[in-house]
């Protein structure tokens, strides 16, 4: 199986040229399912499967479900597991009647016959490569006849394997040979330089004769001097009277019309009655059939084709079939097939389509070995992720399958996801959608350790100075099969004295609080945490480098509810209770920032660090955040707008009864400056990013909650907090992104302003640390993978510097 694998691209599998021995063995191949996994360490693991069924032309008459391969594909680009959608395409539902002409149904035409074909011309259409290169090694027998004589098929010896050097098509009506580009050519499974027995050639002829495309078909050989033969197939194409109307019906799930054998002894009247009753049956069938999805423009195209053509010919029907089928397949209806043309020789051509109606949706769990097991995950959890279009009664669409794949993958519960449509044996034309899932382990724990050697006395490391540190984390996923999870991690740099710098986080996530069947998607989260951060409030301005740092330790409990409004937009609201401790460099509680005196001394009467003036604040407040995100990716460039509004509302509970309202509004627009064609590998458009951020606070504002200006996510080109710390701030930024090759370069300008509110922060840290309270910067940069390399000019001092940053600014 040949496959093209591009990370981040949809996988395409070309199909099967590996089916090497099919021509000689002539056995219908069993379906092969070949997920080829990459090593686990590979970040992009994927596999693809294809239902690969090079069909033989040595058909078993009774077989009515023959799968021709078509497409398989697709795995999600950024995921580290195996996702598969496969489509066994040719769910064969059509029967081919023997006899030619005559009847008013095309394929079902004359009834009788062997019912010989199983649609092999169909499959042949899809599987030519299967026969391509397997003959070289096979032996063949020379014809043993004089060269350049024409031999009828029945004159050939049944014991010899003939090598066919060439195949010619001779159109008896046009009195000319047709080229290989002719649509009929595809119907023949014989290939030049192939080796065939007489029986095979006869079968081939029979197949052609019974397919309904030809009124008459003959096969004759011409001997070559080198012992091979040249085969000429002469045919007379079937034609019917011209039609004006075209109709397409969905005959999926309807019983196929069974060809009724006509008694040759019938009188003319009986024959007439028979035809009339057949016609009636057919009309009833049409009436019962559901309308199909085929849109009006395609109808119009087909009608035009018919009116241009005059007589309806086999070729034109083939063309119609191709047009209709192409539309279906282009739109993702991978299981749709044109199975029959009916009502020929009337004014109307009826195209019978099996669209691929879903009759059953199966969700299956597999263990690591692929055995079907009873999964831990409850069905509704998976069920709610499926698009409606994948449910019973809808037409299978591969896009819906992909959507399901993505949605299920986003649950993060499965290591392997397959979405597989397969024909329903019990109901003809039906599709069973199978979703096969491999669950991840429910519990996982991880310990990572590190040793740090701290120099002891006299600078020499001693045994006691070796400190074991590390992180212990554990996760319990998918509790009760409802995707609830509990996770925790503890990090310390010294297990002997963990109280020094123990960092921990425990979180419990409870999705579907409105019930797993509710369309509302709300998730409850609660966590218990601590963190330690360097306060950017106590940072010096340009002339003041050495400001003694203040550490802000927060520990507390958080509980919130997240409501997913769309895939990207969400509303979160909850309660935070925390204790904030401010410490100086040596981890002592600091009640005020230190200031450096001009004479180099340090005084401890800087701005107060906490609201309570004790160095420890306790506070409870409500927090709400609403994100409206309409961004999407156009060839890898983000386009659209994203707005975030966040409020922290103090409740007057805590040290000094803090009552405050702290609010932030962030508006970001990604304006696409040029319309570009979308598609993989196409260049992204240039994008102008406009960004505004307002933050403000009314009421009690401790310094650790003041808004700081400057830094990679505020005003680039400055250090964190280098411009000031204020009660209200406004930041404006513009960035122009120009795509260059696989990445983009950008220029930007940013401005941050304290709106004159620095003095409204107690102790005025902006002024104490000699900061400007406002500043602009501009610069240019280029994105190199995940890293941004940029040169930013600080407008206050007029100097520039190069920065390397991870991630995106906006």
């Amino acid at each position: 199986m040949a496959s093209i694998t591009l990370p981040g691209a949809i996988r395409i599998s070309l199909h099967p040229s590996t089916a090497a021995n099919s021509a000689s063995s002539r056995r219908p191949k069993t379906q092969t399912h070949l997920p080829s996994s990459f090593p686990k360490s590979n970040p992009i693991k994927s596999s693809l499967s294809s239902h690969n069924n090079p069909t033989s032309n040595n058909n078993i008459p009774s077989s009515s479900s023959n799968s021709a391969p078509i497409q398989s594909l697709l795995s999600h680009p950024i995921i580290s597991k195996t996702l598969i959608i496969s489509v066994p395409a040719g769910i064969l539902l059509f029967t081919l009647g023997g006899g030619s002409g005559g009847g008013n149904n095309f394929f079902n035409g004359g009834g009788g016959g062997g019912g010989g074909g199983d649609g092999s011309w169909w499959s042949r259409f899809f599987s030519p490569p299967a026969f391509a290169k397997d003959e070289e090694t096979e032996g063949w027998d020379p014809h043993g006849l004089p060269a350049n004589i024409v031999v009828q098929l029945n004159k050939l010896s049944g014991f010899k394997k003939y090598k066919v050097s060439d195949i010619l098509f001779f159109d008896q009506r046009r009195r000319s040979t047709v080229g290989t580009e002719d649509s009929f050519f595809e119907m023949v499974s014989l290939r030049p330089n192939g080796v065939y027995t007489k029986a095979q050639l006869q079968k081939e002829l029979e197949t052609l004769a019974t397919c309904g495309m030809f009124e008459r078909v003959d096969l004759e050989g011409k001997t070559n001097p080198d012992g091979s033969i040249k085969v000429t197939i002469s045919f007379l194409e079937s034609t019917w009277q011209s039609a004006e109307k075209f109709r397409c019906i969905n005959v999926g799930l309807m019983p196929q019309t069974k060809p009724v054998e006509m008694d040759p002894d019938m009188t003319d009247k009986e024959k007439l009655d028979f035809f009339i009753s057949q016609e009636k049956d057919y009309r009833r069938r049409i009436d019962r059939a559901r309308p199909c999805l085929l849109p009006t423009p395609i109808y119009r195209d087909v009608m035009k084709m018919l009116s241009d053509q005059g007589k309806v010919t086999a070729r034109s029907l083939q063309k119609i079939r191709d047009t209709v089928q192409k539309w279906y397949h282009d739109e993702g209806y991978a299981c749709a097939q044109v199975v029959n043309f009916g009502n020929l020789n009337t004014k109307e051509v009826v195209c019978e389509v099996v669209e691929g109606d879903i009759t059953q949706l199966l969700i299956q769990f597999q263990d690591k070995l692929g055995n079907v097991v009873e999964g831990n995950t409850q069905f509704p959890v998976v069920w709610r992720e499926l698009p409606k279009q994948l449910r019973v009664g809808h037409v299978f669409n591969i896009e819906a399958g992909k959507q399901a794949l993505r949605n299920i993958n986003s649950l993060g519960l499965f290591s392997n996801i397959e979405v597989n449509p397969r024909p329903d044996e019990k109901s003809e034309g039906g599709i069973i959608v199978e979703i096969k899932l491999k669950e991840l382990d429910q519990k996982s724990a991880e310990v990572s350790t590190e040793w740090s050697i701290v120099p002891g006395r006299q600078g020499h490391p001693t045994l006691a100075s070796i400190q074991p540190g590390g992180t212990v984390s554990f996760e319990h996923r998918n509790i009760k099969g409802l995707n609830r999870s509990f996770l925790g991690s503890v990090t310390t740099s010294n297990f002997f004295n963990p109280q020094d710098d123990l960092a921990f986080k425990f979180e419990y996530v409870h999705p579907y609080i409105d019930g797993v069947y509710s369309p509302k998607n709300r998730t409850f989260r609660t966590s218990c945490f601590n963190s330690r951060k360097l306060s950017p409030v106590f940072t010096g301005g340009p002339g003041l480098d050495e400001v003694p740092p203040i550490w802000v330790d927060r520990s507390g409990v958080k509980a919130n509810i997240t409501e997913n409004l769309t895939r990207q937009s969400k509303l979160t609201y909850g309660l935070v209770v925390e204790e904030i401790t401010t410490r100086d460099e040596s981890s002592h509680i600091a009640i005020a920032g230190q200031r450096v005196l001009p004479n180099g001394g340090i005084s401890a009467d800087g701005p107060p660090t906490t609201l309570s003036d004790t160095g420890i604040d306790r506070v409870a407040f409500l927090q709400a955040n609403i994100t409206r995100d309409n961004t999407k990716f156009v060839n890898g460039a983000i386009v659209g707008d994203r707005n975030v509004f966040q409020v922290d509302q103090g409740l007057g509970i805590g040290s000094k009864n803090p009552l405050f309202n702290r609010h932030q509004l962030t508006l970001t627009r990604f304006l696409q400056l040029k319309n570009v064609e979308e598609g993989a590998g196409k260049p992204p458009p240039p994008v102008l990013v406009l960004h505004g951020h307002y933050g403000g606070c009314v009421g009690d504002l401790p310094s650790y909650d003041a808004f700081t200006l400057g830094g990679p996510y505020s005003v680039r080109g400055y250090n964190m907090g280098e411009l000031g710390a204020a009660r209200s701030i406004l930041e404006l930024a513009a960035e122009l992104r120009i795509p260059i090759k696989n990445t983009h370069a950008y220029i930007f300008a940013e401005h941050g302003n304290d709106l004159g509110t620095s003095k409204d922060v107690k102790g005025n840290p902006t002024e104490v640390y000699r900061r400007m309270g406002q500043g602009s910067s501009y610069g240019a940069g280029v994105k190199l993978g995940l890293v941004r390399a940029e040169y930013a000019v600080d407008h206050n001092s007029g100097t520039g510097a190069i920065f390397f940053r991870f991630g995106e600014r906006f």
Partner: protein, 310 residues
């Protein structure tokens, strides 16, 4: 102030007779207006001659001065009384250190002045400095931030080192008016005083503390323009006092400024309510987004929305 021993203003006797007469006359006018004490705050950059001016006015060497280093590291109040009238002069350390405004010095001055009323602010600078820069402006701003704009209604600019020969081509008067104009402009900018407000035009007084100061026939120290400056200084101070504005009472509120944490606190419920409405509004917009979301053709077809158009 109560515990402080107010000494007799004996230094006044050292002044020449003409000066003494004038000073007593001015004090008499003040007494007539029922003013029996006066607090003068002297501020300025370091080394401009604040302390020397104080010494000159008191007529004693009350504050140590040195030519090469700043002596005063904290504010000092000198109080002298004469004939039932008390004169308080607050000498302060220089406001500039290391090229920046010394916030600590200002804080110190503020806490020193707690519960006192400033009648007059003397902002001291040198006449023989040629230009003004942003530092001057920052000093003025710092003073304004500490004591409020109103202090400039009770202020006078004092220019020391008045005995100089101006640079080429400028007459003494021209130089003086240029220099005072520049300073007044800085005060206006730094104090964020609107142009129309400055109609009162702050007085500018020239001072020469040096012992080499020229003297007139009655032994009074006179400036190059012939004016005897000590009486003139006192006269101007008295004019400022009686210009109708009020003295600045330095209380706790003035020192700490309004507590920003208490400001607008009563608006919080209203703000929170408005924010609730805003969130609801955004939710509405998101709902519209869902409705407007461009769906793929296959999704629409299935719900019959495509009507076979595509």
């Amino acid at each position: 102030m109560a515990g402080q021993i107010v000494r007799e203003w004996s230094g006044i006797q050292q002044f020449p007779l003409a000066t003494q007469t004038k000073l007593l006359e001015y004090l008499g006018t003040l007494k007539q207006e029922n003013v029996d004490s006066l607090t003068i705050l002297v501020m300025g950059k370091g080394g401009v001659g604040k302390s020397s001016t104080v010494n000159s006015v008191i007529g004693e060497r009350v504050v140590a001065v040195s030519a090469f280093q700043s002596e005063a590291s904290r504010p000092v109040m000198i109080s002298r009384s004469r004939a039932g009238f008390t004169l308080n002069i607050v000498d302060t350390p220089g406001l500039v250190e290391g090229g920046y405004v010394n916030d600590r010095a200002i804080d110190m001055i503020k806490s020193f002045l707690l519960d006192k009323t400033i009648d007059v602010l003397l902002y001291v600078d040198r006449l023989d400095a040629y230009r003004v820069d942003t530092l001057d402006r920052q000093i003025i701003k710092a003073i304004t931030d500490s004591f409020g704009k109103e202090i400039w209604n009770r202020a006078a600019i004092v220019l020391t080192h008045a005995q100089l020969s101006p640079p080429d081509g400028l007459s003494y008067e021209d130089f003086f008016s240029k220099r005072s104009e520049a300073l007044l402009k800085v005060v206006r900018l730094g104090g964020r005083i609107k142009k129309q407000d400055l109609a009162f035009s702050m007085p500018v007084i020239l001072v020469e503390n040096s012992g080499r100061c020229n003297k007139n026939e009655s032994g009074e120290k006179v400036l190059p323009n012939g004016i005897s400056w000590i009486p003139k200084l006192v006269k101007t101070i008295i004019d400022v006092v009686s210009n109708g504005s009020n003295g600045i009472l330095v209380d706790k509120k003035l020192i700490e400024g309004p507590n920003p944490n208490e400001q607008h606190k009563w608006w919080i419920p209203l703000i929170a309510a408005a924010q609730y409405l805003l969130v609801q509004k955004i939710r509405g917009l998101i709902k519209d987004d869902i409705a407007k979301e461009s769906k793929a053709a296959w999704e629409l077809r299935d719900i019959g929305a495509a009507k076979r158009k595509f």
